[in-house]
Amino acid sequence: MSERPNVRIVALLCRWCSYAGADLAGVSRMKYAANVLPIKVPCSARVDPQLVLKAFSEGADGVLLAGCHPGDCHYLKGNYKALRRFQLLKKFTSQMGIEDDRLRLEWISASEGSRYADVVNDMTTKVAKLGRLNWRREIAIEA
């Protein structure tokens, strides 16, 4: 059996829905891949594209954005902003050679613990197949 690379996925989870969903997966003792670093944000709209780019440039192999289902955003329209930003960001990262499966947006509600686990497992498998991203500048320039 081949060694599966230990990929790291940064998950930006909104506090009201998807982070709660992740918590539910945890307290329900669901088994799912341990490759995710969860980061709680007040709303998916808080996710500045710079955060995503920073994650990739500093070692993340995948980034997951998760928010409330359309219509359910605690701040009413935040998740729509996130969706629009995500679309532009995805186009850009694709131009920069970052494969499709590495950047993902999902709607996960507070009660969808098993959905969270499924998403994480699925994304981990796909990113592991792609391998480590190792985003770094090509040469280290000493001053």
Binding site: L53, K54, K81, L88, F92, N134, R137, E138
Partner: protein, 321 residues
């Protein structure tokens, strides 16, 4: 007896550049002579017959101001940048290429080395003649670095003059300050700390749009904010100091003055801002937002025209195969 004050030494060195920045100094008109009267130009290949040895002969930190015009794309540029850092008391990144990578930075959308090989593919094979002449040897093709860099990604930089080219009044500002012996804090930008929008005379009413237009597709209202008319203008994410000249010419800002002080990545800032205002003025239906940016063909070129090397990702993924 008071010792006579020697003239400050000035040098203008070139990296990967179009030379527009230093050439535009001639447009100071007669004012250029006022400057050259007061300085000793030790090195400026575009303007005078200086040799590299002239710059090398100066003691370390002996040149009061070196303006480095260009990005760092090949090994020659890199060596020049290092030499300038050694010889300069104050080193300035002169123009958007030095400050952010500039237009040469667009080569980071691919791989410089690969592109070079593609261009020179199908070359006649080296003959004995070529070997004997040492002509097609190591010297022949430029040694490209893995990507294009801004100046401060390879050496320490003291002051920044962004712009493509930098507005002459800002250049004059730096020269005046240096001639007056003014203390300039390290990291100073000769540019505004606020967005281009503050200098743009167009009327701003309401940032909410339902469509994007490429600047050649419509003839915009000359009085109203371009972004509010659906034209992607990078003004909100870009430093001013340029008097919003592009907007005055009815074209959108393309970000040559670079990111605002709080931000690391002006392109990402603008993507965020554009997405925020693209509200469609509709009922909130998810389906309505799918594909809304399909018409924005080239985010890389649109948001990072001048700043790609300095952005967070910096360059396209390195092909490890």
């Amino acid at each position: 007896m008071k010792p006579e004050r020697t003239k400050p030494k000035l040098a203008i060195a070139l990296g990967a550049t179009c030379s527009g920045c230093d050439y535009s100094l001639l447009d100071l008109g007669a004012g250029l002579l006022d400057v050259t009267d007061q300085v000793e130009i030790v090195y400026w290949p575009t303007g005078i017959d200086s040799k590299l040895e002239d710059l090398q002969a100066v003691p370390d930190r002996g040149v009061d101001l070196i303006l480095f015009d260009g990005a760092v794309v090949n090994e020659d540029n890199l060596e020049m940048a290092r030499l300038c850092r050694k010889k300069a008391k104050m080193l300035a990144a002169f123009g958007s290429c030095g400050a952010y990578g500039g237009i040469p930075g667009l080569i980071n959308s691919g791989s410089p080395k690969k592109i070079l090989l593609e261009v020179y593919q199908g070359l006649p094979t080296r003959s004995d003649k070529a070997e004997a002449l040492n002509f097609e040897g190591e010297d022949a093709l430029p040694k490209m670095l893995g990507q294009a860099y801004s100046l401060d990604q390879v050496v320490d930089v003291d002051v920044y003059l962004p712009g493509c080219p930098p507005p002459l009044k800002l250049v004059a500002g730096l020269l005046t300050d240096v001639l007056a012996g003014k203390a300039i804090p390290k990291g100073t930008f000769y540019a505004s700390n606020r967005a281009v929008c503050y200098e743009c005379k167009r009327v701003k009413e309401n940032k909410s749009i339902d469509a994007i237009h490429r600047y050649h597709e419509i003839q915009p209202d000359p009085t109203r904010c371009l972004l509010e008319q659906g034209i992607v203008c990078l003004g909100p994410a870009t430093r001013g100091g340029c008097d919003a000249v592009c907007c005055t010419q009815n074209q959108p800002c393309r970000g040559c003055m670079g990111a605002l002080p709080h931000s690391e990545d002006s392109g990402a800032e603008m993507m965020s801002a554009l997405a925020s205002i693209m509200e469609l003025n509709n009922e909130n239906k998810e389906a309505d937002y799918t594909g809304i940016f399909d018409g924005l063909n080239d985010p890389l070129g649109t948001f990072y025209t001048f700043t790609l090397p300095k952005s967070i990702l910096g360059r396209r993924k390195v092909d490890q195969s």
